[in-house]
Amino acid sequence: MAVRSSQRIVAANTAVSLLAVTGGIATAAYDARPAMLFGAALLGWSQLVGL
C-alpha cells in the first residue's frame, strides 16, 4: 500500500516538473512571460516538502 502511494508521489513530481519545463521551453520561443509563470509554479510546487 505504501509502495503504491510512494510511486504516486514520484509520478506527481515527474509530471509537474515535465509539464512546467516543457511548457516553459515551448512558450519561451514566442513570449518569455508564460515561461516565467511556469517557473514560478514549479517553485510553488517544490514547497510541498513543507506541507
Partner: protein, 195 residues
C-alpha cells in the same frame, strides 16, 4: 485538510475547505505580487533592470548554493508558520481560508527554500503590477496544487503521517525541483529583458 479527502462522506467538506484555501491564497499572493510590481515601477529608476537582473541571477545562484548546502548564509525570513489553533478558534472553513491567505502572502511564513527570494525579487524587478500579480499567483497555484492532489497520494486517511514523512524524506527531490524552478524563472526573466 488532506485526510478529509479520504474520509467517506467528507469529500464535499474537503472540497469546500480546499476551494476556500486556494481562493484566499490566490487573493493574497496577487496582492503581494501586484504591490511588488507597483513598488518596483515607482521606485526603480529607468533601466534599473540592467543591474537588477544580474543581481537577481546572483541571488538565484546564492539561493541554490545555500539550499544545496554548499554555502552557509543566514536567511532573512520570518520565523513563523501558519497557526494550527485557527481551526479551533474560527472553525475549519475560516481556518482553511486563513491558512491560504497567510501562505499566499509568501513572505510572512518560514521559507522551505531560499529560491522563493528570487520570485519576490523578480516580481519587484518586473515593474509591472499585472505581471507581478500573475507571477505570485502561479507560484501559489503550484503550491496549492499539492493540497488538491494530496488525497491521491493516500490509500486512506490513516496514511497521512506516513505521507508527511515520505514527503519530508524526499527533501532532495523537492530541492532539485526548486532548483529547476529558479533556473526556469531566471532564464525566462533574462529572455524577457533581452539579455
Amino acid at each position: 485538510m488532506t485526510p478529509l479527502g479520504k474520509v467517506a462522506g467528507a469529500q464535499r467538506t474537503w472540497l469546500t475547505h480546499v476551494i476556500a484555501y486556494t481562493l484566499a491564497g490566490a487573493l493574497s499572493s496577487m496582492l503581494v505580487g501586484g504591490t511588488l510590481g507597483a513598488v518596483g515601477g515607482r521606485l526603480l529608476p529607468p533601466d534599473a533592470w540592467r543591474l537588477g537582473i544580474p543581481a537577481a541571477v546572483l541571488l538565484g545562484v546564492l539561493a541554490v548554493a545555500r539550499d544545496m548546502g554548499w554555502i552557509q548564509v543566514p536567511l532573512a525570513q520570518p520565523r513563523r508558520q501558519t497557526r494550527d489553533v485557527w481551526t479551533y478558534r474560527y472553525g475549519p472553513l475560516a481556518a482553511s481560508a486563513l491558512w491560504g491567505f497567510d501562505l499566499g502572502l509568501v513572505v510572512t511564513t518560514w521559507f522551505t527554500f531560499a529560491g522563493v527570494l528570487v520570485l519576490v525579487a523578480s516580481a519587484f524587478l518586473l515593474e509591472d503590477v499585472l505581471l507581478g500579480s500573475l507571477l505570485l499567483l502561479f507560484y501559489w497555484l503550484g503550491r496549492a496544487a499539492s493540497v488538491w492532489v494530496g488525497p491521491l497520494f493516500l490509500e486512506d486517511a490513516g496514511q497521512t503521517p506516513w505521507m508527511l514523512d515520505e514527503i519530508n524524506n524526499r527533501h532532495r527531490t523537492f530541492r532539485s525541483i526548486n532548483f529547476l524552478g529558479v533556473g526556469l524563472l531566471l532564464s525566462a526573466l533574462l529572455l524577457y529583458r533581452g539579455l
